[in-house]
């Protein structure tokens, strides 16, 4: 096994809270055309601020949500409504799991 050391210290912030993305940033990070992201916005999976696509600003959490949505579409052959519903249910399940853990359930 080889080892690669990056000696510099990376001082960066919390992606979800301190970064914002434009439509172009999000397309690049997800390696998809803008149409795919616009579809996700139309389906309510992503909720950018700003009226028109050219001015959309996505919060940092949108990136991993978009990636998950694209994976679900590709791997499970889901349509957009199915993806949107799945992600909403997953949010709910994760919130409930968090509460259960806080109550001391494993």
């Amino acid at each position: 096994m080889t080892t690669e050391n990056s000696l510099s210290i990376f001082a960066i912030g919390i992606h979800e809270e301190q970064f914002q993305l434009t439509l172009a940033d999000l397309c690049r990070a997800c390696a998809v055309h803008a149409e795919r992201i616009v579809e996700l916005v139309d389906a309510g999976v992503l909720e950018p601020e700003g009226r028109e696509p050219a001015r959309w600003i996505f919060d940092g959490a949108s990136l991993h949500r978009a990636l998950a949505a694209l994976r679900l579409q590709r791997d499970l052959e889901m349509n957009l409504a199915g993806v949107a519903l799945t992600l909403e249910l997953l949010d709910e399940i994760n919130a409930l799991r968090g509460r259960l853990r806080a109550m001391g359930e494993p």
Binding site: E4, I14, L72, D75, L76, L90, A102
Partner: protein, 314 residues
């Protein structure tokens, strides 16, 4: 190299129809999809499943695999016979799935790493490198105070001879104060190298907390079970409570019962607003392990008319 029983992985018989294989794949893909599944080995299972389906859904690959695999069992040591695939013509059905690079050595020894044409694949001259994603476990204390930690990641890479090797990637990372579970740290330029003059990709680290010996976490809020003596709960008391920011004093109201939840406002993970620390009282009984202690319990039984089951009507 181990022989992989693709039929077993997909839970179908060797004479399954293509429709049965497709149905089995869809069902298992939903079960083990890493974005949906909570199975601990979901990612590995999903990859294995994708690989099995890649072979079994394609009539040519399936026929080749069947001919080869008739005498093998899953997990058995496997060495492909020298010219095993002569006589089979692959029409270039190739890969349809996502990450063919993730397929096992077993798959690669049979069908090659990339049937789509490998190096001949066209790419723009300058492309940004791929982003990488990894999960890291950190201590809750580090999220509370912020910290610099050395993190070691393993990533597959290709060496000069074209072999797949595991490379260690060691990074010194600043953990931002107040980061929550599931959030990400982005390390610019620490993903794959770019092509041509393209910039390197980024590395995203998804944060998970190591289980803490006494705090449980929900978002920014912390939960702590606090043992109290019966007289502290009954008469009220001021007791010490450990929080991530240090020891604080907590006033327990008179007449508290087990399970009572008290809030230490702003004593959870930092943020805007900061989380709270919830203290859940757990009344601990002194052991009746000496004669005087037993005598004391007997005296309580005599002098306190107390029926803990009165609500049950007995």
């Amino acid at each position: 190299m181990e022989f992989k029983d693709y039929y077993k992985i997909m839970g179908v018989s060797r004479d399954a129809t293509q429709d049965e294989i497709k149905r089995a794949y869809r069902k298992l893909a939903r079960k083990y999809h890493p974005d949906v599944s909570k199975e601990p080995d979901a990612e590995a299972r999903f990859k294995e499943l994708g690989e099995a389906y890649e072979v079994l859904k394609d009539a040519e690959k399936r026929a080749a695999y069947d001919q080869l695999g008739a005498n093998y069992k899953g997990g058995q040591e496997f060495r492909p016979p020298p010219d095993w695939n002569t006589g089979f013509e692959f029409s270039g059905g190739g890969y349809t799935g996502g990450d063919a690079g993730d397929y096992s050595d077993f798959f690669a020894s049979l069908f090659g790493r990339d049937l789509r044409g490998g190096a001949a694949r066209r790419r723009p001259a300058h492309t940004k490198g791929e982003d990488h994603h990894a999960k890291v476990l950190i201590d809750l204390e580090d999220a509370y105070h912020g910290a610099t930690r050395t993190i070691t990641l393993r990533a597959p890479a290709v060496d000069a001879q074209g072999h797949i090797i595991t490379k260690e990637h060691v990074l010194n990372v600043t953990i931002p104060k107040g980061i929550r579970e599931g959030q990400h740290i982005r390390l610019v330029g620490q993903g794959s190298a770019g092509v041509g003059e393209g910039k390197a990709g980024d590395l995203y680290l998804q944060i998970e907390f190591r289980p803490h010996p006494f705090y449980r976490v929900d978002g920014r809020d912390l939960y702590l079970d606090l043992p109290v003596a019966p007289w502290e709960a009954a008469l009220g008391a001021t007791v010490k409570v450990p929080t991530l920011g240090g020891i604080v004093e907590l006033k327990i109201p008179e007449g508290s019962v087990s399970g009572r939840k008290l809030r230490l406002k702003g004593r959870g993970l930092p943020g805007d607003p900061p989380g709270d620390c919830y203290v859940i009282l757990a009344i601990a009984l002194p052991p009746a392990d000496t004669e005087p202690a037993k005598e004391f319990y007997r005296k309580m039984a005599q002098e306190l008319s107390f029926n803990p089951r009165v609500k049950l009507g007995v």
